[in-house]
């Protein structure tokens, strides 16, 4: 048994890649829920964006256009969610569930009619994909890496070698913190999630603030989805979001609706997903062969365990989930 193997630099590098869509979705949920709008639909927005990004990137040959298309699709779903939960004061959970099913169905229908490959896009490559950025002096060949010392390995496998969206996601954390805690918009946004009536009394539009928050969430989910299909993998396959939107929500609760803690929580979930991809390392580390099915279920089981056991008292924004009705 050698538990240090579990900290292998290649696993930690994969951790960052797996955590990126979770982190972006978690920050999306952060903005939305801090403004008082529950968003179960993170999953669907990521999925639609993943499809549109891959499909448009393949068709246009330019991954940036694909990214924009993904964000546009995600924003459209955000708009529907806003219409249902803000304008028409409907049930936010049900609206989110509807959005998830819509994305799950429409992506396959559209992919089939567009490409005819059984609900997937063709493989994308070259300029239609976000390639890893190799930092100066970083090693890429496996043979070189095996002989390298630890600091070189950390530099080459953990810091270097990710697609640009990974670095954008990491920069989004301090940015989200700054917006939420150091700007007037952020103060109002947090206030509207706690006590919308007070914000309304101050003469600020609750509806506009909440729409602003879910549009930010839409952009972030769009980037997350595009990352899945154009960087993490080379194309869209059905249901490729695989519950990441829900795991991001669990991470958000774990982080108690705070940005830096969201980074920590999503890195933890990313690590579990990275580990689940490496049964060989787990076997060497704990000396027992673990069944594939258990490894597949591991991130989901740990989501349940963390939600149930280690969160402590997580108090959501007070007005979360409640539509705001102006006093007459």
């Amino acid at each position: 048994m050698d538990f240090l193997l579990l900290l292998d630099t290649s696993v930690l590098g994969t951790t960052i890649r797996m955590a990126t869509p979770l982190l972006l979705a978690c920050l999306a949920g952060l903005f939305s829920e801090r403004a008082g709008i529950f968003d179960i639909g993170l999953e669907g927005k990521m999925l639609l964006s993943a499809f549109l990004a891959a499909a448009v990137a393949y068709t246009s040959g330019n991954v940036w256009i694909g990214l924009l298309a993904g964000i546009a699709g995600s924003l459209m779903l955000s708009g529907i969610h806003g219409l249902a939960s803000i304008t028409f004061r409907g049930n936010q959970l049900i609206s989110g569930v509807a959005i998830n099913f819509f994305a799950s169905g429409i992506t396959v229908v559209a992919a089939q009619s567009w490409f005819g490959q059984g609900g997937r896009t063709p493989q994308i490559s070259g300029a239609a994909r976000f390639d890893p950025i190799i930092w100066p002096g970083a090693l890429t060949r496996i043979r070189d890496l095996l002989q390298a010392n630890l600091s070189t390995k950390i530099y080459s496998q953990i810091i270097s070698g990710h697609a640009i969206i990974v670095y954008i996601a990491l920069l989004a954390v301090p940015l989200a913190w700054w917006i939420l805690y150091r700007t007037r918009f952020g103060l109002r946004l947090r206030a509207v999630g706690e006590n919308p009536a007070a914000v309304d009394t101050a003469g600020i539009s609750v509806i506009r603030l909440r729409f602003g928050a879910i549009m930010i969430a839409g952009v972030l989910c769009g980037i997350a989805g595009a990352y899945m299909s154009t960087a993490l993998q080379a194309g869209f396959v059905r249901e490729m979001s695989a519950g990441r939107g829900y795991i991001a929500l669990a991470a958000l609760i774990f982080a108690k609706w705070r940005p830096w803690q969201a980074l920590g929580a999503t890195l933890l979930f990313g690590y579990l997903q990275a580990l689940a991809l490496r049964p060989d390392i787990i076997e060497k580390a704990i000396g027992v062969k673990v069944q594939v099915q258990l490894l597949d279920a591991l991130p989901y089981i740990l989501t349940v365990v963390i939600l149930a056991g280690f969160v402590g008292k997580a108090i959501p924004p007070r007005a979360g989930g409640e539509p705001y009705v102006k006093e007459r």
Partner: protein, 364 residues
């Protein structure tokens, strides 16, 4: 005074929602280069055009009645159980255990045994998230979704490593014995002289589903615990003040919910496949959400909504065969129904209410 007559609330509003969903689905079909009217004709012919078609439609409807009841009973306690899919999969394990490992002398006893075991397995899978919600405050929506994913892996493990007969590649159990074979509509309706298609999967589980509907009605509207469930759903604080234990209501409503979802397996696993395969529930657990919303959590509404979705599901299958429209089109329609009947209810409702108010003013 009510804003509009009851028939408008029960029939007109859902009908408008369906119409909106149908129009948007038609637009989606147009966008993918298919003819929506032709698609509708194929669906009608394939889903209600013959007794065989009806046999399939009612077979699917049976699944959706069970999962619709599952979602509805939880909704009455304002619990949102998205885990019907996982609970139905576990119910399938219950049915497989009952049919494979117990030698039943007659199908009636086998059916009873399968109902009990599938209910217990499904209830168990719902009881864990319910307990975590009641005692640890874990969000029931997220936990039940996670339990769906965990159920997929668990069934995969059970079929590949435990229940698969030796020497077989396919991850599935052996076929159930003859004594566990349920009579289908051909057998049942043949007794009263009606000639029903022999190869359609609708079976006696349909009548069990109707019985379950009655059970839900009696429970929710005619018993003390049903009253407490509704009270808790209306206002948790009021229920608490009246001495109702939240833990008890959460546990009971979710256990009943999981039980209904699990019992679906007597239809698809025992009545149709007659063995347990991977992904036996085929999304029926999720369709239950749309069915419960459309049926307004009432058994009669659930039966009607389930038959509508049975029509969509069977019609959708015919579309994928005859018109190369992917089966996932049904998921799109399902999402639109959830959106319009669930989340955008106010958008559909308020113009109708305004019309009725205007009419009434004219009369006065």
């Amino acid at each position: 005074m009510e804003k509009m007559p009851k028939w408008a609330d029960v029939i007109l509003i859902p009908a408008i929602s369906i119409l909106l969903a149908a129009i948007i689905s038609g637009l989606v079909l147009l966008a993918t280069g298919k003819d929506p009217l032709n698609a509708l004709a194929i669906m009608f012919d394939g889903a209600v055009g013959s007794s065989r078609a009806w046999g399939y439609t009612l077979y699917y409807a049976t699944n959706f009645i069970f999962t619709g009841l599952a979602v509805a009973v939880a909704f009455h306690a304002r619990m949102f159980n998205i885990g019907g899919e996982g609970q139905a999969l576990l119910g399938g394990v219950g049915v497989a255990v009952a049919c494979l490992y117990i030698p039943w002398p007659h199908w009636t006893l086998a059916l009873l045994g399968a109902i009990v075991l599938s209910g217990i397995f499904g209830a168990f899978w719902a009881a864990i998230p319910a307990f975590l919600q009641a005692k640890r405050g874990s969000h029931i929506v997220i936990t039940t979704i996670m339990f769906n994913f965990i159920a997929y892996s668990l069934i995969n493990h059970l079929l590949v490593n435990v229940m698969k007969p030796a020497g077989v590649m396919e991850p599935a159990t052996a076929s159930f014995p003859e004594a566990a074979h349920l009579p289908n509509f051909h057998d049942i309706l043949g007794l009263v002289g009606i000639d029903f298609a022999m190869d359609a999967p609708a079976n006696i589980a349909f009548f069990v589903a109707l019985l379950a509907c009655w059970f839900l009605w009696a429970l929710i509207w005619r018993t003390r615990i049903g009253y407490q469930i509704r009270q808790f759903g209306e206002s948790e604080s009021a229920a608490r003040y009246a001495g109702v234990s939240p833990t008890k209501i959460i546990m009971i409503s979710m256990i009943l919910s999981g039980m209904f979802a699990g019992m679906m397996s007597i239809n698809n696993v025992m009545g149709e496949a007659e063995r347990l395969v991977l992904n036996s529930a085929e999304g029926a657990g999720f369709i239950g959400i749309a069915v419960a919303l459309m049926g307004r959590n009432h058994p009669v509404g659930i039966v009607l909504a389930a038959i509508l979705f049975g029509f969509l599901y069977q019609g959708g299958t015919q579309l994928s065969i005859q018109a190369q429209i992917p089966k996932e089109m049904v998921v799109v329609i399902q999402s639109l129904v959830i959106l319009f009947t669930g989340a955008l209810d106010h958008m559909v409702r308020s113009p109708v209410e305004r019309i009725f108010l205007a009419l009434r003013r004219k009369e006065a």
